[in-house]
Subunit: 212 residues, 2 copies
Amino acid sequence: MQSRSTPPTRAGGRPRSAEADTAILEATRQALVDLGWTKLTMGDVATRAGVAKTTLYRRWAGKSELVVDAVAELFDELELPDSGSLATDIESVVLQFAALLGRPETKTALMAVVAESTSDEPLRERIRTSIVDRQKRLVLTGRARAQARGELPVEPDTATAAMTADLIFDVIAGAVVHRALVSAEPVDTEWAHRFTLLILGGLAAAASGQGA
Amino acid sequence: MQSRSTPPTRAGGRPRSAEADTAILEATRQALVDLGWTKLTMGDVATRAGVAKTTLYRRWAGKSELVVDAVAELFDELELPDSGSLATDIESVVLQFAALLGRPETKTALMAVVAESTSDEPLRERIRTSIVDRQKRLVLTGRARAQARGELPVEPDTATAAMTADLIFDVIAGAVVHRALVSAEPVDTEWAHRFTLLILGGLAAAASGQGA
DNA sequence: CAGCTTTCGCTACGGCTCGTAGCGTATCTG
DNA sequence: CAGATACGCTACGAGCCGTAGCGAAAGCTG
């Protein structure tokens, strides 16, 4: 995960405690649930983790970095089981993502760090590598499977194919996040079904009218 | 806007200064640009606005409420000029929304208050009434125009029509926000065009396969 | 006009968090 | 063993929070 800030010098001393690492990240998630973003403090996390406050600062520069790493782990739970059709693949990942966003630590943290990242370039990069880019794999494998099934045409131009993948990623992730967090309405199977139909229709249209 | 906290008792004293109100909201937006969300402080805003800190607390309970009101004003700039076709209507609003999210005060504040609202029910309600619900009008008028032109069928069932509008709203707003803030890629005309094609295709498919 | 009500700016305060420094101890490497 | 690093602990100045108390200003009402 490349999570903590690497010790600047080379090896040769007491290694950092791995138990402390996991305890801190777990404590951070729990603190997010109990306190939310603004009321979460470094000192509180340290106490919960049974660790000195200085230990936190030796590994993370601040609250934002800590929370990014604490939440990034959760996103790796997402999977794309091969359900046999593109429609059910999409519905599955939508519902999984919605369930993930239903957990209080996830929803609070994700928006907060994104907000912070808008005026913090290194943090933005950290989010991109730790969270965003890792989830694009879901779109790519989903498309590959659909193409193997013959449900989607193969886009010959590599650049165009990449743009389409990015577009789909933003549409799916964005819509679910907006529905769940901004509109604050439930992402249930009904909604997932309607949304999936919309996407499939759009993909079909884009496939026919290729020369956009 | 119903922004500030209403004075609990009835009228009959010195009225609150309207100049102070606008100065505070403007100072808040500027502070967001300069400092970002976490480093923005009530005291700093007060100084910028040329107002006592106590005056801020007489009107807003805290940072979140203040920022919501400061940003809500900006969203009212969005318009839906009747461009003659649904496609260009969508592209227009997408680009407008993207331009709005390009402004540092907007992007920082929007995500931050949404994050805060996940563990603050009154704040969530404030966001809903001050920002979210007011922008759904764009979807509704856009649909009405498209139906008048014959571009979209009229959905007979009121409940279904409302769900469709909510879906489209979440998809458009969510995709633009995700593209601009999470993926941190530009929302240019190219992207807007591709996205619009996707939406239109989805709408067409949903219209034909009505009995979802 | 006089009197009531509310807001305003200002100052001050206790409480909390921040992020760092310093120390002695613990743990691992060569 | 010597060197290097991490650890827990304590303490600290700095900054911000949100509130209280004051005298003065500015409207409304009769």
